[in-house]
């Protein structure tokens, strides 16, 4: 199965709902206020947000006034165009020449950080890279065990301390180990934390500082994991994690449900942070590169 097929399959429900509605809207009808209102509903229920939705609807209203939109095909093209512009060009996660290439994974509780790390490790290992996981979630009960299971499943190495120990120390040790063992990729797990808890955000800053001290320039990727089910709060999460540790990419998980994950449009627009990866299922192969063109195409095809 090709990449696009798999993505499409994962997003089938999303597409069905979204496109079904948009198509029903425009088939054989003129673009009037009522249609635009219905479109507004479709966009808002995708968690795209009131503001972004307003902009898109305005855009379509203008185009309709100028006579550029007349039928279903037109509307789709315009919508695709507008949403692609919002997302910008695809910027997948690329493992550059740095060795080890250090990835720091952050996010609020329950978004799927550990699972994403496990899948990511599986991907790199299948590409022939050596991977070391750092069990930096020393807070949640059995989080270390959970990462250990992933390390066994994928064949990735693991550096762990005891539960309750300093996550910055775990990160430091993992980098030392990675250098001496000549590992290609280090993925550092951290405890889920609400962005509103400033002591926990300070702890995360410390982890980042220690990483940078141990290996200047690292982490080379700071991945914020976002649950596609999350509503507008995901933007706040992105803002605050970004100002604390500098987020360089988003992994959007749980896209295999009925949630549309539309908040990524706002995250891209407001903060310019690209979406790197999407999770479309429970299997190791269900973590995919985010490609804005294919993402929008998959939504609209």
């Amino acid at each position: 199965m090709g990449f696009l097929d798999r993505l499409k399959e994962g997003l089938a429900k999303t597409r069905k709902g979204f496109i079904g509605k948009v198509e029903a809207l425009f088939t054989g009808r003129k673009i009037d206020e009522e249609t635009l209102e219905e479109l507004e509903e479709t966009l808002i229920t995708s968690d795209i947000g009131v503001k972004a939705t307003g902009e898109i609807v305005e855009f379509l209203r203008d185009k309709a006034k100028q006579g550029e939109i007349q039928n279903t095909e037109n509307v789709r093209e315009f919508l695709k165009q507008e949403m692609m512009t919002l997302l910008g060009p695809s910027q997948p996660l690329i493992i550059s020449g740095e060795r080890p290439f250090v990835i720091l994974t952050v996010g609020v509780n329950g978004v799927g950080k550990t699972t994403t790390i496990g899948k990511l490790a599986g991907r790199f290992i299948s590409e022939g890279k050596s991977v070391l996981l750092a069990a930096g979630d020393t807070f949640r009960a059995a989080a270390i065990e959970q990462l250990e299971i992933w390390s066994k499943r994928t064949g990735a190495q693991i550096v762990k301390h005891q539960s309750g120990s300093d996550p910055a120390a775990v990160a430091f040790d993992s980098l030392s180990a990675a250098r001496s063992r000549n590992v290609d990729v280090v993925i550092i797990d951290t405890a889920g934390r609400l962005h509103t808890k400033s002591p926990l955000m300070e702890e995360l800053k410390k982890v980042r500082r220690v990483i940078d001290k141990s290996m200047p320039g690292a982490p080379h990727e700071t991945l914020l994991v976002v649950d596609a089910t999350t509503g507008q709060n995901a933007l706040r999460q992105a803002e605050i994690f970004n100002s604390a540790v500098g987020v360089s990419g988003i992994a959007l998980t749980k896209l295999d449900g009925t949630a549309k994950g539309g908040i990524v449009f706002a995250i891209k627009k407001e903060l310019g942070i690209p979406i790197r990866l999407i999770g479309v299922g429970e299997g190791i192969e269900d973590l995919r590169d985010f490609d804005s063109k294919e993402f929008v195409e998959a939504l609209f095809s």
Binding site: V111, Q146, G257, A259
Partner: protein, 439 residues
């Protein structure tokens, strides 16, 4: 964001000139902002639509209370409706007449089922019951270990098996075990699953059919977006839920999902999770969530306090007095008391949208004490007729109230000016509570 909403509403309320009853156009303007606020809070689009329609119907033609502006009145109606929709406070977990009471926790991945299960077990243990936690999440790596660790912390036993692969059989076995060991509450932590995963949803129905839980609790993340309605609807229709627990309320999500889930399932919200620590589970208070969803908690409490302090009849009496030019020192004293009963004046000012920006407004509370003391040192006659207050009377009042003649003079001057100002209101119908701050 919260600030922005109060500011927006403030500017709209300024435009609302009509008094007496609420007119449709006023309501529309205010409700437009309320709609945006609700959508920004992640309340589902359709739920918002119904809600706004409902409020509009209720608000048109409604009288505006004397102490409120029309805008505040609209917000008050909105708030009442929200609270009504969110349901009563203090929904309890029902216990079976024949123990053990089986509680089944269900929800999506990462919603907080395992942590919440442990929190519930702690609550039951505190009540003197003998809970048993059941590690029925056989999907997520180390989920069993997580529950065992939490159980150890709480000194609550955890039923688990690393050999059993079928959660239905495991839960059934757990019930047998609970009866044997005289546990009176079983809390089953099931695996997180997607509401559209037919296989796993069927498995959940099978567990339910087997163990017949007294309570099936749907655990939902407070940060959930528009999809909350689909998720809740599926779980409720396919499994049947008895209550809702909203987790991660310690974040800054406005929690509109609470309203969506309530509206779609009609089931009560029983608890909210307010932190990672095991004791952080609280009873649900609809009023608090309502103001949070609206994003204007302070504004609502101000409205509430104003209503309590100035009841309508008193306000009418005061109005008559002012119109009849009989506003006396006695009335002034009464008003000051009311204002002060609403809490520290600085806090009150902070609650008024717009004022929050003026950070260095400082109000000297002692000033109020002084004015009151001065009025208290006047004779009843002097309070009714300030023209009697000659130099010697003023000296007496100053001595009696422990102030200076300058202070007394200032209070009298302010009173006279206030009276003048009040006279200007005369003839204007439906006037509002006058400004009576002595500075």
């Amino acid at each position: 964001m919260l600030e922005a909403l109060s500011e927006k509403l403030e500017s709209i309320f300024k435009k609302l000139r009509s008094r007496g009853i609420l007119k449709e156009e006023d309501i529309d303007a205010a409700l437009k902002e309320v709609r945006i606020a609700l959508l920004e809070a992640d309340v589902n689009f359709k739920v918002v639509k119904d809600f706004i329609q409902n409020v509009k119907t209720k608000a048109v033609g409604k009288e505006v209370l004397e102490s409120l502006t029309p805008g505040q009145q609209v917000i008050k109606i909105v708030n009442n409706e929200l609270c009504g929709l969110l349901g009563g406070a203090g929904a309890k977990i029902h216990l079976s007449p024949n123990p053990p009471t089986v509680i089944m926790m269900v929800g999506l991945h990462g919603s907080g089922k395992t942590t919440t299960s442990a929190k519930l077990a702690r609550l039951f243990k505190k009540e003197g019951r003998r809970p048993l936690l059941v590690a029925a999440d056989l999907q997520r790596p180390a989920a069993i270990d997580q529950l065992i660790t939490l159980g150890k912390q709480l000194e609550v036993p955890v039923f688990h098996s690393k050999e059993m692969k079928d959660p239905v059989a495991l839960c059934d076995e757990a019930v047998r075990k609970a009866k044997l060991d005289a546990h009176d509450v079983l809390i089953m932590d099931t695996a997180g699953r997607l509401h559209i995963d037919e296989g796993l949803m069927k498995e959940l129905s099978e567990i339910k059919a087997k163990v017949k839980p007294k309570e099936t609790l749907f655990v939902a993340d407070a940060m959930t977006g528009q999809d909350a309605v689909n998720i809740a609807k599926n779980f409720n229709e396919q499994i049947g839920i008895d209550g809702i627990i909203l987790t991660k309320m310690d974040g800054d999500a406005r929690g509109g999902a609470a309203l969506s889930i309530r509206a779609i399932t009609g089931k009560p919200i029983k608890f909210i999770g307010t932190g990672e620590k095991i004791e952080m589970l609280e009873a649900f208070h609809p009023d608090r969530i309502a103001s949070r969803i609206l994003g204007m908690g302070d504004m609502l409490s101000l409205i509430e306090q104003a209503e309590q302090a100035f009841d309508r009849k008193e306000a009418e009496k005061l109005q008559e007095k002012i119109l009849g030019e009989s506003f006396t020192f006695e009335d002034l004293k009464e008003q000051l008391k009311k204002i002060r009963s609403m809490g520290p004046v600085e806090n009150l000012l902070g609650m008024i949208p717009g004022f929050s920006k003026v950070k260095n407004v400082s109000v000297d509370e002692r000033e109020f004490v002084k004015v009151e003391a001065i009025i208290n040192s006047m004779t009843a006659e002097e309070r009714r007729n300030h023209n009697l207050l000659n130099g010697s009377r003023r000296r007496r009042i100053a001595a009696g109230s422990g102030t200076t003649v300058t202070d007394v003079n200032r209070v009298i001057k302010q009173y006279v000016e206030m009276k003048k100002m009040l006279k200007m209101f005369k003839g204007k119908k439906g006037m509002r509570m006058p400004k009576i701050l002595p500075f």
